[in-house]
Amino acid sequence: MRKLVVLFALVIVAMLVLTACASPTPQVVPQTVVVQQTVAVPVQQTVVVQQTVVAQQTVVVPQVITATPVPPTKAPTPVPTATIPPPVVTTGDGCATGSTKVSWFIGLGTGSQPDQVTFEKNWVDKYNKSQKDVCLTLNVVFNTGQNSYDALRAMIAGGSSPDIVGPVGKAGRASFQGGWADVAPLAQAAGYDLTKYDPALLDFMKDEGVLVGIPFALFPSTIMYNKKLFDEAKLPYPPHKVGEQYQGKDWTIDTMSQLAMKLTVDAKGNDATNAAFDAKNIKQFGFVQQWPSDYRSMATLFGGALPYDAKDQTKAVMPDNWKAYGKWLYDAIWKYHFYPTADYANSDLLAKGNEFSSGNIAMAYAHSWYTCCFDMAKMNWDIAVVPSYNGKITAKMHGDTFAILKGSKNQAAAFKALSAMVNDADLNAFYGGLPGTVAARPAFFATMNTKVGTNKIDWSVMEAMLAYPDVPNHEAWMPNFAKATDVGTTFLTNMRQNPNLNMDAELQKLLIDLNTVFAAAPK
């Protein structure tokens, strides 16, 4: 018997040794895919911006596709690779006697940075002292991109799910598909007036047709730019108005790329347009997309699109604009060098992934929530209009809210706290979210102005970009959500790490991989 066991073990070990010779690169089962669209449009384009937008005193509504039934799990909002602070839990000291305990979980989006936690704790204390019905407690798990999601899963699986989760956007909620309470009946029971919100905004807050939150914070994207680097290069700042030109040229992706090359500088002071430019010793980059979550979130710079055939959701589609984006990005990284490689992005030069905050990035395409994560008072910065592609501006949108988990045992009390949160101007300003109602925005901007030191930020750009959301939204549903996102993220990382890719072949491979994943989606 002993010999048999040893023999069995030897056979397993022998198999493993043979396996050690296998390639580490995962093999994808090739499938025949009918390519629906032709090869990408080149970067060079002549575009005249036809539309003008005038800021009105109306609610500017992002037009997005309402989420249809969603499979579980998705990559969360990306965060830097700093050391991980421990979770923060408060117990509700100072609450009124007999008040209902409601726990608030933070970690699926913004809010878990250590300096944010101090503010949140103070806000919770203030709220608890202001009323006697609800005792709000905090549970903050630092969001590294996954561990906070794991923590919440463990809490749900263990039967001790928190009551309120937020701020959280579509992507975060998709990771817990079907786990959110419908707040419409809760609002009705509490006499909360939902009619003050634009119906389209309320639609934006629906997942699978269920209203899971109240519009709280909108995070449009803009081009954040470092004025000091522009001044050093003696270049004018990028446009602040839609339709405005830059140095006599329309403000397009091409114009922005040329500008970014001039703002990409090596150790000897040569910019990327100079023949003597040394790409191995770059000290400053012209452009970056700050904290991309996956390929979709980046490719929407060239316009929103669906990665699947709307008529047959098992079929992947590679839209022309996303193909064009992939080639543009790859050239930006490896040919024109104005976009940092993964190595540069993770280096000390670019603050280990928090690139714009390093002060060595001239322009960053970022959501407004990114104001959380750099020193707004110390840096000399402002915001500009997103450049257009093929005549169209796309400023991708995030819309965060607070949601109540279905497993919450105190949904009515949770809604009471939630309704206070979504209407609190301080919380709005703190998370850097544009209020869902226009009337609340001046106060929001006034609060933001107190945080930016001597900078004079043109917040009108942020409001203007609300008119150009990505449609469909880059966080909208797609089949086999977690795995499809995973495929996109792998593709993106490969682009930033591998200088020897054939982008046509890689885009084709991405299409095949997505097709495999969509075809395997649970029904």
Binding site: V5, V6, F8, A9, L10, I12, V13, L16, V17, T19, A20, C21, A22, S23, P24, T25, P26, Q27, V28, V29, P72, T73, T81, T83, I84, Q146, Y149, D150, R153, I156, A157, G158, G159, S161, S175, F176, Q177, G178, G179, K280, T341, A342, D343, Y344, N346, S347, D348, L349, K352, G407, A482, K483, D486, T489, T490, T493, N494, Q497, N498
Partner: protein, 320 residues
């Protein structure tokens, strides 16, 4: 002839009576053992049993673990193991790491221990502390530090290599070829613990053996090979076992450096990371449990083989 009135009765075996004192001692013994037994049952045995149960279900981690939230699927998850395109490659990555890291994890601490044990070394205490210090740094912090040290652009290693004239140093964590060796480098940085254990065993080798060998004309290399190695072979075997088990469980640095996709290009997709992805990225707890069982079986088998060969290769001075 037996007496008709007598009946031969079989000799009854009775349990020897234990005294009350002995019984009390036994009860107290079990009582002191019970915390460990209860803990083992609750935190080891029961979770293992639940994991085995989960392998037969399609439980997803997004709902409460309660009846009604999952279905029994028989051997579907095991069948999936045979068609999983990432299972073999990820095991290959783990084995590649082990094949490089385990020998290094034995040779380098042994060399350090020999150095520190040398009577010719000035300031041995300083070196002992110096080599041990990286061990006290938490794994996460150490990995993040090393990520910076091995950064292609600004890392110290590449800056030093460039200063020495190497224009195109390795792209460490961005190159699939160098990614695993780079993690092995990280492992070497933290060999202080193994060094201390080997040092203690070196100091336990009887000096009269060396004296006798010297009298017989043995050179240092011969003494090292024929005396030192056999005498410290139990400790080498101990480190080898720990190294093997640690390699099959290797996860945190791979996750921190390569992300959950095992970048670059899957070269850091260790088997435990593959398990983690299934469990916590895709919430497929059923299949992830199968992968966990695979790790368990593979580690157990490899350890079993090692213990089999240990009988021939390890010298225990005190006997078996």
């Amino acid at each position: 002839m037996p007496n008709a009135t007598t009946v031969s009765t079989p000799m009854l075996r009775t349990k020897p009576k234990i005294s009350a004192l002995r019984r009390r001692e036994v009860i107290w013994g079990y009582a002191f053992l019970s915390p460990w037994v209860v803990g083992f049952f609750l935190f080891s045995l029961l979770p293992i049993a639940m994991t085995i149960f989960l392998t037969f279900t399609d439980y997803k981690g997004t709902t409460e673990f309660a009846p009604g939230n999952f279905n029994l699927v028989g051997l579907d998850n095991y069948a999936r193991l045979l068609t999983d395109q990432y299972a073999l490659p990820s095991m290959g990555v783990t084995l590649k790491f082990a094949l490089i890291g385990i020998p290094l994890g034995l040779i380098i601490p042994l060399l350090f221990a020999l150095l520190v044990n040398s009577k010719h070394l000035f300031g041995a205490n300083f070196f002992r502390t110096f080599f041990f210090l990286p061990t006290v740094i938490p794994v996460v912090a150490g990995t993040i530090i090393f990520g910076g040290v091995l950064n292609t652009q600004t890392g110290w290693i590449n800056l030093a290599l460039k200063a020495l004239g190497l224009d195109d140093p390795p792209r460490w964590f961005s190159d699939p070829f160098w990614a695993v060796p780079a993690l092995n480098l990280l492992g070497i940085w933290a060999v202080g613990n193994a060094m201390l254990i080997l040092l203690a065993s070196l100091q336990g080798v009887p000096t009269e053996l060396y004296e006798a060998a010297t009298v017989d004309g043995a050179n240092p290399l011969s003494k090292f090979w024929n005396i030192t190695i056999p005498m410290i072979s139990p400790v080498i075997f101990y480190n080898l076992t720990l190294g093997l088990i640690g390699s099959f469980q290797y996860f945190v640095p791979a996750m921190l450096i390569g992300g959950r996709n095992g970048d670059p290009q899957g070269s850091l997709l260790f088997f435990p990371l593959h398990f983690y992805r299934q469990a916590f990225v895709f919430s497929d707890m059923g299949y992830a449990s199968v992968l966990a069982l695979v790790i368990f079986v593979v580690t157990l088998s490899a350890t079993g083989v090692m213990f089999f060969f240990a009988q021939r290769m390890v010298y225990y001075a005190g006997g078996d």
